[in-house]
């Protein structure tokens, strides 16, 4: 029955001979360390972010980017696959409660006045990328060109991944730090980052900055977007929504 002590077959071993319950101690110790980790996480995380941030700057392999808090953007998509679009087939339509609905090609957008903003990007899941340049057309310019009708109160965004949607109130959409972005990090926006054109809502959590933007519809009321149907806040101000207290980005 107790092969741990084969020296005494047949006899039930007294407790001292059954061996020390090291296994139980390891198990409880691991749980204790986990709990301690949760309690000390804010301090540990600050220290690690500093260290990894510095290491990532000198790391040619990019492996530090895979470590937790290693910095950099993360790719989130809600669909299985997203079609690739470029200057030849990309179109952005502006419609809804406007006087002059219009469809823009990539070159049309490039020909409009461009605005460059350099601010932090803050994801609602916690990661933050400092000082990221975005460049593109102010959303307010596109809305003015289309002529928003009276009675309109919000703007709804659709994406060519076929699933993602977002919304802003008209006042939010007219802010000068809300762009239809064509460039990010001083490069054309690649497919993985939502290119060729994505929304950039500087003062809000990054889920508001819809990738693969293909449609802008002016509506009467705010329609909830993809993640907002799943519990995220509609007014996603950084530091003042979703139960988070991050430093504001804009």
């Amino acid at each position: 029955m107790n092969p741990e002590q084969p020296e005494e077959p047949g006899k039930p071993a007294p407790p001292t001979q059954r061996g020390t319950p090291v296994g139980r101690r390891v198990l409880l110790g691991t749980i204790g360390l986990g709990a301690l980790g949760v309690v000390t996480a804010p301090t540990l995380q600050r220290a690690l972010e500093g260290f990894l941030g510095a290491a990532a700057g000198k790391d040619p392999t990019g492996l530090t980017g895979l470590l937790p808090n290693g910095g950099g953007f993360r790719y989130y998509s809600v669909t299985t696959s997203v079609p690739h679009k470029d200057a030849s087939n990309y179109r952005l339509t502006v419609g809804g409660l406007v006087d002059r609905p219009k469809t823009y090609s990539l070159d049309d957008l490039r020909a409009l006045p461009q605005t460059r903003l350099v601010k932090d990007v803050q994801c609602v899941t916690g990661w933050r990328v400092p000082d990221t340049p975005f460049e593109g057309v102010r959303l307010s310019d596109l809305l003015d060109a289309a002529g928003v009708r009276s009675g309109a109160g919000a703007v709804h965004f659709t994406c060519f991944d076929g699933a993602y949607t977002e919304s802003l109130t008209l006042d939010q959409a007219r802010r000068s730090d809300v762009l239809v972005a064509l460039r990010m990090q001083d490069k054309e926006i690649g497919h993985a980052h939502g290119g060729p054109v994505r929304l950039y809502v500087a003062p809000m959590y990054f889920y508001k900055s819809a990738k693969w933007l293909s449609g802008i519809t002016v509506t009467e009321h705010v329609e909830r977007g993809y993640w907002e149907h799943r519990g995220y806040d509609v007014d996603a101000w950084v530091g003042k929504s979703n139960g988070r207290d991050d430093d504001p980005t804009s």
């Binding site: 741990e4 296994g23 390891v26 409880l28 993360r74 989130y76 519990g231």
Partner: protein, 208 residues
Amino acid sequence: MTLRAEAHTPAATEVRRFGPVQKWVHRTTAALMGVCVVTAAFLYVPQFAELVGRRELVVRVHECAGLALPVPVLVGLVSRHFRADLGHLNRFGPHDKTWLLAVVSRDKRRSSRPAAKFNAGQKIYASWIAGATLVMLGTGLIMWFTHLTSIVWRTSATFVHDWLALTIGIVIAGHIGMAIGDPEARSGLRTGKVSREWAKREHPLWRP
């Protein structure tokens, strides 16, 4: 999780190592852990995330597999044989200390690595992975049910969940590596039987 071993010839010199319950617990736990690890990679590694997308579905599968992870062990507790094995894994004798000291001093001689049914390394692995799984379950639940706790606790839980996930990934890779290196140990978990010769060589103090 077990890989195909060389053709296994049943012989009269075989001894029983594991019963059906132990085999089932190991297999289902390994499958659930596999689902957790793979879905975690889809959620976490940007290249895989880009390949798979469908974030909401992947999150749901990860949550369900994680929640179910302790269930096979709990179900296994109904078996006397499984409980006895847990007892063997828990209790350390003087020979386990010898075994661990031999590992520390890189002494590879068989005589310096005495082991009963489980060697000290297997015992520590089993206890640690059980504790780590419970920590992952706890922190995972905090991340899942966001309304339960404040943002500070959630961020802290995420921090522990992320780093422990990385550690578990490395440890499991080691566990699988050891199994790949010992076909008969794998066949022991697949068929329940091992040769008397292997038992004597790898687990000299084990009296099946």
